[in-house]
Symmetry: C2
Subunit: 362 residues, 2 copies
């Protein structure tokens, strides 16, 4: 009886109801993305009983994707592979053993390294997270990495109270923009440091854009240096650093007693010249935040789903807007990748995150 | 009735049974110690009801004392003042309201900045800690700062288990010597980094001295670099840094996942060039330890007394030896202070802590 059931299930699991090919960007060796990436159309194999066929529609390109291709990221996917840790799409078909997902559901990958730079992919049901269908595809695509990073950095290190203050550099980054919006929701002030632009007009336009996202004080490093009344924004209990190098001192210097500096990026590619005095006498802490590390470690899926639900509610109620982005069709992936590689020159305005878009599979 | 009682008590409180002068080292302004320190004999005033007259017999000179005189330490005593945060002596006389101390008791200051570089001093009973009378005066004098620092750094940051490993630089320092002895007691391995001496023979003698104190591995930084089998000493979960600057990287590099680097000194007077990758991807932490800060903060006197009792037991049972020292009579204080000022040149052998000794007041 069991044998018959298994045989039936095996037949069923191979019965993908139509022929599907996935357009995917791939790499078979590490190197500079434009040198090693190539395009490949791949036929989608039969679905196993717990498999889910996903049609990706939007896959953001993050710095960690670029670093993964370069081979400088600690997560090393098996090669040849498809890059991309983030994306959103719709379920096209499910294997017979799939119970929590159905065709039409909006989903995102629940793990890192699942490869999102492709129009279609097959995963085990357990590897996907079902999202609120009210999210539009871009809100869904950007839900995971940057908002979760902002959220967890705000929640995990110090017990922030209304009236406290957060300081951050790289304020024009997507994480920076979510930090200032979430802080505003929580009644927490933010001091946001950004680089002056080429002209005073561009600098003012960038500042205004960040103020519109809810930043309390938006200043260049020089302006902060001259700022006299910094105390009035509250106790600066935590700093978020994605720059590294000497500019990080602007944060360390202003942390309150027992403050924490959390580093989540190092765009300046320079170590932090950590002064010993404040570490000892102000009881400061330097910590690092890595979303994938924490996720892998904690294994607390329920807490993660609750967080994603809270962020979803904020987005659907308009309390949090997604950071600026530019959608580029996957056929133009070379231009999308090229625009995503970090360059030291100062952007003219607020940087936009690049997202690869894929067509709907009908 | 109350008025008569108060008057009687006032009379009593002035009745110091003999004339006492204190020989004390003082400074009335900040500067280089040998420039600003001077000697002064001061008559001891009347004892208040809760006052205790202490005859200091041994007062160690710590780097923090030198920095306090230089004005670079965050604790700023009222000037003119007597330097010294550490010392041990015997109670000579007590005011009538003193209940927990009596003449002959062995005591040490229970707070920072009480000024120990003097033969006699009057404190409120609450400012003193009564020590086990079995301790000899040198064991008592060195009980507080260095052993407490080692103890609290080992207990407060990670939950060390037998078989784990601690890495430290400045291993020839007094704190370093207590760290390796306490770790040995706790079944924890230690990797101890020291500077090579002028000759190979001196280097070997220094290494042997540290091995005799219980260090598991005692190496120069170059030797550690070439060491291949570091894993066999256990998980390196915490590092203790009193050097700072680039040499600190030797510790950071070898910390295990989620390891903590605790900085308690900065003899190299250079910031720590903290690499961002390990902070983020290895979830490392940089913390600072300041004994006075923690004591002031916690206010947990019971825990502190329990710790001092545990350290006392270890010393009395011979499980922990006090770090090498040199006792210098207070009359020769200039030489004592001069020997205590940190110099960059490499010592020929194991450095000895300097302790000012004062005569018994009979």
């Amino acid at each position: 009886m069991l044998a018959i059931k298994n045989a039936l299930s095996a037949v069923k699991s191979r019965s993908l109801s139509r022929c599907i090919s996935s357009c995917q960007i791939m790499f078979k060796e590490h190197g500079e993305p434009l040198d090693v990436l190539y395009e490949k159309t791949q036929d989608i194999g039969p679905l196993g009983p717990n498999d889910v066929l996903v049609n990706y529609r939007a896959s953001p390109i993050n710095p960690s994707d670029i670093n993964t291709i370069q081979g400088t990221y600690p997560l090393k996917p098996k090669l040849p592979g498809v890059p991309g840790n983030e994306g959103a799409g719709y379920v096209l078909e499910c294997g017979p053993g799939v119970s929590k997902l159905k065709p039409g559901d909006l989903v995102m990958p629940g793990e890192a390294s699942l490869g999102t730079w492709r129009s279609a992919a097959v995963y085990n049901e357990s590897q996907l997270i079902k999202l609120n269908p009210k999210l539009d595809i871009m809100q869904a695509a950007f839900l995971n990495i940057n908002p979760s990073t902002a959220y967890l950095m705000l929640k995990n290190y110090v017990d922030l109270k209304p009236g406290d203050c957060v300081i951050q550099n790289g304020a024009t980054s997507a994480v920076g923009i979510y930090v200032m919006q979430m802080c505003k929701l929580m009644g927490i002030n933010t001091i946001n440091i950004f680089r002056a632009r080429e002209t005073p007009e561009m600098t003012e336009a960038t500042r205004q854009a960040l103020l519109d996202f809810g930043g309390t004080l938006v200043v260049t490093e020089d302006e902060l240096e001259a700022y006299e009344d910094i105390q009035r924004f509250g106790k600066i209990r935590i700093g978020f650093n994605c720059v590294g190098g000497k500019p990080t001192l602007a944060l360390i210097k202003r942390l309150d007693y027992s403050g924490v500096l959390v580093t989540y990026g190092g765009m300046a590619r320079q170590p932090i010249p950590t002064p010993i005095g404040p570490l000892i006498f102000k009881d400061l802490q330097l910590r690092g935040f890595w979303l994938s590390g924490r996720e892998n470690q904690s294994g607390n899926k329920e807490a993660r789903l609750a967080m994603l639900e809270e962020i979803t509610d904020w987005i659907l109620s308009g309390k949090i807007k997604i950071a600026p982005f530019e959608s580029i069709p996957h056929t133009d992936w070379k231009s999308a990748v090229s625009k995503s590689i970090f360059k030291d020159d100062i952007p003219r305005n607020l940087p936009r995150k690049i997202v690869l878009s894929f067509p709907e599979i009908l």
